[in-house]
Symmetry: C2
Subunit: 394 residues, 2 copies
């Protein structure tokens, strides 16, 4: 059957490659250790599930909501922004509830960028963002991150080099996927100011925004002068409440853009899944305590992993400031896909090869610790040490 060129050209998501390889390994009878997909080991709060069970009696839960989403959930997002950032959002005109943050990002991109124009993407990138660009015929301009000490950081000195006349937007995922870096207030500020000045849109993905390990959150772009007019923010309730399967996220943008995005929302989805919207709203009510606990758990895991990996000379730790993973550099001169597959074959450990996040990810493995308790981390490192000590390409 005929297939569109942009789709043929779109790279396959690295996660699916690793899923397939893991499934083959599992089918041969092996138990695997999972450090691949970025999923949290959270489940929704019992109070939220109880409310959902009761609400299933109401026919309204089974019918379409309005396109932008349940008014209660939009109001809850606005309230949350008010409390955390002191930012006042109009829930009627500036917030759209989507089927997850990927759906929100795709809509934002389609709404803002013309085919043939370019978008500046810090690399390594989140692969679904690169795929969205490819399938919509938008050119990606790569802006390699730098390593500052033991952390990934934006290379602000090269920001202007990255921009071209046709650059319509700049992407920023903060906390970052795949590096786990949390970009600092000066970094966020520089991005917003550059966009405000040049007329680019800042596509700001805060999917992991509630999972920052430090006491401080990153600066929100809306707090920088010009940010409200320049940034489209996408986010999700998935990772913070353990409801990845419910597909509920959001998009925040100026009212005039939201009006345009609603055309896309109606055409691609109509409305976000309503029961999931209800559940997200209940999670915002009762999930904060658990979220704070989970954030501390993740910080502890990251610290523990750093300690343990200090004993593996072939690996170089990159400190994550948030999110569920770290992108670790390795010494062997071998493509990361190869290394990840060999690690799976020899040690039954699932990771994500850095090359799946673009050329700048090469030489790294992404290790997700969202789902791994401390004994599993110790086992992971034991296997990594054994694997790398004797590693030879076969």
């Amino acid at each position: 059957m005929r297939t569109a060129d942009n789709i043929l050209r779109t790279e396959a998501p690295v996660i699916l490659e690793m899923h397939a390889a893991a499934a083959r390994r599992r089918a041969s009878g092996r138990a695997l250790l999972h450090f691949g997909q970025a999923v949290p080991d959270l489940s929704p709060p019992e109070e939220a599930l109880a409310a959902l069970r009761a609400a299933l009696d109401d026919d309204a839960l089974h019918a379409y909501s309005v396109d932008p989403g349940l008014a209660e959930l939009r109001q809850a997002v606005a309230d949350d922004y008010g409390q955390r950032w002191g930012v006042s959002l109009d829930p009627e005109r500036e917030i759209i509830i989507t089927a997850g943050a990927n759906h929100a990002f795709f809509q934002a991109l389609l709404a803002v960028v013309n085919p043939g124009e370019s978008v500046l993407v810090p690399t390594p990138y989140y692969f679904n963002h690169a795929m969205a660009l490819q399938m919509l015929g938008i050119r990606r301009r790569d802006w390699p991150m730098m390593v500052s000490g033991d952390r990934f950081a934006l290379d602000l000195g090269r920001l202007d080099d990255g921009l071209a006349v046709d650059t319509a937007a700049i992407v920023c995922v903060n906390p970052n996927n795949p590096t786990g870096a949390v970009f600092t207030p000066p970094e966020v500020q520089a991005l917003v100011m550059r966009c405000a000045e040049g007329g680019q849109v800042l596509l700001y993905d805060e999917v992991y925004g509630r999972l920052c390990f430090g006491a401080e959150s990153p600066l929100h772009p809306f707090l920088v002068p010009g940010g409200r007019e320049s940034a489209v923010v996408v986010g999700s309730f998935s990772k913070m409440f353990g409801i990845t399967g419910w597909r509920v996220g959001y998009l925040i943008a100026p009212a005039s853009l939201c009006e345009q995005v609603l055309k896309i929302q109606d055409t691609t989805l109509i409305c976000a899944p309503v029961a999931g919207q209800f559940l997200a709203r209940e999670c915002l009510r009762s999930g904060e305590v658990r979220l704070a606990e989970y954030r501390r758990t993740l910080a502890r895991r990251a610290d523990r992993l750093a300690e343990l990996l200090a004993d593996v000379p072939e690996l170089e730790w990159r400190v994550p400031g948030g999110a569920l993973f770290a992108l670790v550099a390795y010494a062997p001169e071998v493509p990361s896909r190869r290394l990840a597959l060999d690690l799976l074959a020899q040690e039954d450990v699932v990771t994500v090869p850095g090359a799946g996040f673009g050329p700048a990810g090469e030489g790294h493995l992404r290790i997700s610790f969202g789902f791994a308790d401390e004994p599993e981390l110790a086992e992971l490192v034991r296997r990594l040490r054994r694997f790398l000590r004797n590693y030879r390409i076969r």
Copy 2:
């Protein structure tokens, strides 16, 4: 904020215009009669809801499924196709569960058609299809339906005139939205054969496929020689089980295309909402009896509406063979948006103006009876008669 040209050019969905007008009217204290949006007055079977309630205890329901969807639901779709059509589908490679049929159609279009190419669309069209074309920079070639007796039909004699060298696909919604027409086996056969011969893809939307009033279903394109290789089928569980809010549909295509569509699925959604997938699977198990009843109810409503409208000389009935609505022609020489807004303002009746389905819909109103019992239909016709008898543009 900068906005992409294709999005600015995309028409707003007519349903949202009418929603907004209806909301203003309601806010002024009026109770409205709803014949606008195509929603069924079904709720999910109690057995299915009970199964869902129990399943909420299982963390698997809250986490991502694999991208193509729950294996049990894909198997159920394959089983259903086997039983109803004698068609054998590979649930592993030929079925993808989507966030509703709009999402499936959008993915199919993006996967199959290059920007700048054209797609042949019978008109009046389903507005979200036209919008999908516009936002992806695909040209629409209109192929006006004809009226044969008192029914809408495809004008097969003009099929070849409609095709151009760059026509990549032909759309067919059967039963049709907005006309309610059920295209006959020769019509479906002609479309498939034309596509198989010319290399176009038939984008076949069977959202209302289980809501045919007659004993017979339309011919399925997969039963026509070449159909399996030429058609992408999209559908939904929303309308047949009353679960529009859960956002679960499907896409069926050759394995090679499904592999490409999964890139889009991963990028735009990751996976369909998992609890909704679970519910759809349970509905397929226990919802058939209710569905058969509902189909009879709809047929009775359509007959009743035909009888009642025979007394309104300004209206010309178009017999629907399925779905939830009819597209009725009216005599006054006035744009349908104007007529629909006046009908709302004067009689508190919500319909959808035909012009929202493209120029070929002008001079018609779409009347949905998915949610209207017989007394409401009588009241509708009473008001229509009064409204049209004295209608003057003010």
